[in-house]
């Protein structure tokens, strides 16, 4: 199976997807690792292609506290307002949440430990067995993880390791 190698993923900000406890999950790798024995490159590209074509039908809630931390730390464009910087940061994650995914981003400072935060999520619970994910669901890896916390206030989690341990 042709998968992404370590030397590939450190140069990429890959969108990867899975199902955890029947909830759709999107993750921005931000040069971090992706789980071992995961999708082939072709399968991941196929999933990404299908997700791009999903309708944006969910209302979205964002993790304001975390987003403010990121924007304060990592944006310096003087010609942009604080709200414009927030919009720049959240754009990609909000898009995925509008399609029903709980969307995670990798915390950049913890380069070796791969910690992830939720950035955006649908307001209402969206289940992976909804009929609009009929084409997508068979392609996604599914995990049942006890006590997995999808709340915005959850601490950063070591998502890749948690999945690797399943």
């Amino acid at each position: 199976m042709n998968t992404y190698l370590y030397e590939d993923v450190v140069n990429l900000d890959i969108d990867w997807y899975c199902i955890i406890n029947n909830r759709l999950v999107h993750v921005a790798s931000n040069a971090g690792q992706i789980p071992k024995n995961f999708y082939s490159i072709k399968d991941l590209e196929k999933i990404h292609s299908i997700v791009n074509r999903l309708p944006k039908s969910s209302e979205v809630i964002t993790n304001e506290e975390w987003i403010k931390t990121v924007v304060t730390e990592y944006y310096e464009q003087e010609d942009a307002t604080f709200q414009e910087k927030i919009d720049l940061y959240t754009r990609s994650f909000v898009q995925k949440a509008q399609k029903g995914f709980i969307s995670f981003d990798r915390v950049y400072e913890f380069e070796s430990s791969d910690q992830y935060h939720i950035v955006a999520a649908p307001v209402d619970v969206v289940n992976a067995d909804d009929k609009k994910y009929y084409d997508l669901r068979p392609l996604l890896l599914e995990y049942n993880i006890k006590d997995f916390d999808f709340s915005m206030s959850a601490n950063a989690i070591d998502l890749v390791n948690i999945i690797n341990e399943q």
Binding site: Y4, Y6, E7, D8, V10, N11, L12, D13, I14, D15, A28, N30, A31, E45, K46, H48, S49, N52, R53, V70, Y74, Y75, E76, Q77, L88, Y89, R91, S92, Q95, Y108
Partner: protein, 154 residues
């Protein structure tokens, strides 16, 4: 970094470069059969200039091989990378973490400039190339230059 001396134009060029990446990644559709330049975002993009030469670059999958085989790494950059790291730039040194040489957005952007120049003019030192701040294309967040790039370009 000599960011203050950069022309405004290079920032616009970088913005447009990143916008093109965003459009391509967000609209990627396998069934069209069109070969995509970007399926996923690169981790970092950067702009650079030397005189009136301007270029943008990105970190990318298997960049070492691509630079050498498809774009051809300019001898000045090749030598500078080798001198800074004691590693042949076309090789991935396995291990954990592996050593990556020539994989950064800075290498890609600077290589483009050097190739554009061809035989015209000479760069005596790579630190004459001026860079924008590195950016994460997905979000436009700022990023840091890696230690190897600092050695080679600063």
């Amino acid at each position: 970094m000599k960011t203050k001396e950069l022309s405004k134009h290079i920032h616009t060029i970088l913005q447009n470069y990143i916008k093109d990446i965003i459009i391509e990644v967000d609209t990627y559709c396998m069934s069209t059969g069109k070969k995509a330049k970007y399926t996923f975002y690169p981790a970092v993009a950067i702009g650079c200039e030397y005189g009136h030469y301007k270029s943008c670059g990105r970190s990318k999958k298997s960049e070492i091989k691509a630079l050498v085989r498809k774009i051809s790494l300019h001898p000045i950059l090749f030598t500078a990378l080798k001198k800074a790291t004691n590693v042949e730039p076309e090789q991935v040194i396995k291990g954990y973490p592996p050593i990556f040489v020539g994989t950064c957005a800075e290498d890609h952007a600077a290589n483009e400039i050097l190739l554009k120049m061809g035989g015209k003019g000479r760069i005596t030192s790579l630190n004459e190339i001026k860079f924008t701040k590195p950016r994460r294309p997905r979000t436009f967040e700022k990023r840091k230059m890696c230690q190897t790039c600092k050695l080679v370009f600063q």
